[in-house]
């Protein structure tokens, strides 16, 4: 199942200069980056601005719809949903901001070794990647969830990274394989550069923009995975608060007290959409054909 993914198809022109400039020439990049910056600022700074007792139950407001006092309404025990969402967003972002770079690094490492070194090692690595791809990574996450220890977000982040690098590793492998034949790589080899030197100085820098796209989109994907895992009742669990635990608590109430579900859900969709719009803009800037190839 060695599919040419849309990413690989557009990754032919990685070495053109001025990626940043070309990316931010499109208004979509500004929209995506702005939306992402806003949601990250909300999650990481907003939680610092909250008063210490922000999530203390308000006995005068059980399960109230949004109001001037409680912007997102309150939960069944009178907790302010805006404060909870801010804290949940912080946890979800922490998971994603650890998981996504780790997954991208793993993909870069395994993929470039498999592609550049090739031979028996390469074949073994590809076989292992394909083996891991046989099972949907979400199933594997569910399977290892008893080891994650619930309240700690770091466990969830590591697990999401551990099962989230395989597809990108295949893409990186394909690119690294074609780089092996390029003159500048050959020149480095003939000048006596070691394999790790070639990988670090010549192969990986060449794939940097591809990896930037993967990292951007990976943040959104990790937020999605964490939320889905949390909704099933795994990964980060109570008493810790994440978008996943909020959505798990809110979804039985979605038809009767819709604010409990829809506010965290909209924040989640906003965060994911911001990463995919930004990732898309970077991908378009990489695309030699120029504009808007989805």
């Amino acid at each position: 199942m060695s599919a040419p993914t849309a990413l690989a198809a557009t990754a032919g022109d990685l070495d053109r200069p001025g990626l940043m400039r070309r990316t931010f020439a499109s208004p979509r990049a500004w929209v995506g980056a702005g939306a992402l910056l806003a949601v990250v600022a909300w999650g990481l700074l907003g939680s610092l601005l909250l008063p210490a007792d922000a999530t203390a139950p308000d006995p005068s407001a059980f399960a109230r719809p949004p109001s001037a006092e409680h912007w997102f309404g309150t939960t069944d025990i009178g907790q302010d949903l805006f404060a909870l969402t801010t804290l949940g967003l912080r946890t979800s972002l922490a998971v994603a901001l650890v998981a996504a770079p780790l997954a991208t690094a793993l993909a870069a490492l395994v993929g470039s070794v498999a592609g550049y070194v090739g031979g028996r090692v390469g074949r073994l690595l590809v076989w292992l990647i394909d083996l891991a791809l046989v099972l949907p990574s979400f199933y594997l996450l569910v399977l290892v969830s008893p080891l994650l220890g619930g309240a700690s977000w770091l466990g969830a982040a590591l697990a999401i990274a551990a099962f989230g690098w395989m597809v990108m590793a295949r893409v990186v492998r394909g690119q690294a394989r074609s780089l092996r034949e390029r003159d500048f790589v050959r020149a480095a080899v003939y000048l006596g550069a070691s394999t790790s030197q070639v990988l670090r100085r010549h192969v990986l820098p060449h794939l940097a923009s591809l990896l930037v796209v993967d990292l951007t989109v990976g943040v959104g994907a990790a937020v999605l995975t964490e939320a889905t895992l949390g909704w099933v009742g795994l990964g980060v669990t109570a008493p810790a608060v994440s978008l996943g635990t909020l959505l798990a608590a809110g979804s039985p109430a979605a038809l009767t007290r819709p604010w409990l579900f829809w506010f965290p859900a909209l924040v989640l969709v906003w965060a994911v959409l911001a990463t995919s719009v930004l990732g898309d803009a970077v991908r378009d800037a990489l695309d030699p054909a120029g504009d808007g190839r989805g």
């Binding site: 993914t5 849309a6 198809a9 949907p136 979400f138 199933y139 399977l143 979605a254 969709v269 808007g292």
Partner: protein, 336 residues
Amino acid sequence: MAGRVASAPMVRFLARRLVGYGLVGVVATLAGYVLASLTLDPAARYAGRTPPVPPDVITARLAAMGVDPQVPLVVRTWRWFVGLLAHGSFGLSTRGDPVTGEIAARAGTSLRLLLLGTVLGVLLGMAIGVWGATHRHRWPDRVSTATSLVLLAVPAFVLAVAAMAGATALNNAVGRTVLPFTGEYTPGLEGGAWVQLADRAAHLVLPTLCVALAGAAVLSLYQRAAMLDVLSADYLRTARATGLPWRAAVLRHGVRVTLAPMSTFVAYSFGLVLTGASITELAFSWHGMGEYLVLGVADRDVNAAAGTVAFTAVLVLGAGLLADVLHAALDPRART
């Protein structure tokens, strides 16, 4: 055509693929069992009960399931695998029922949703992708691309809840339950086979729609990109130059060319669709394989979890093989 498709090199190619997939499937199944054994502690189920369960009873129960931790993992895995090969048995669940029977009962539920949702999603995704590519930069393209991006950012359970909210509004507006959305059928419904069938079909509508929409979102973006490549190709201009109308040229020389890479991509994203379908099942309270995995892990049930993993591996590899057959049938270069 049929004779050409089933040529000797293709049979050999597919046979080789089949052997390769079989091998990967066996290793994945064994890895699933080992992983489940390492992460799930079956004895934890009996801890902390009042009155406490005697240690002998625990050991006997665990031995009956083949998950006694005193037996080395290699031996347990081997016994489980032999049982699977010899009797097609995944062993006993923690509730004492054979896992194979439970999977057989649940598989139909999951497959019904998965097959309908996937087929509908593929058709919808391809149609939208082609439509968008041929109307590039006009409103159909902008609307469909934006919708796909938004759908991709929406988790399956949020889509399911949105569908349920929509159905509730519809049902309230009409004044009776037009679109039921809890479970696979209405319990205790009176009526003949047709009434039962119609009831099941009505329950299928929303979950199928959710799976299909999520699948179509991924596939339409890919189909659009593939179509845009093809639309600027020389052979399409040649086809037009021979006097072929635009629509016929796009369908016969454009869409057909994208089918081969598309079939591979569908197989590739099948794991994603599978995950989405499992989540959708859970959201609509269906008793399918997704629920079985989650319950199995919650119950610390090694055999149930490993059985689900094996079932999933067969599905994913089956999709891969199907894609290979389609790819080989559509693209002669792939038959080597």
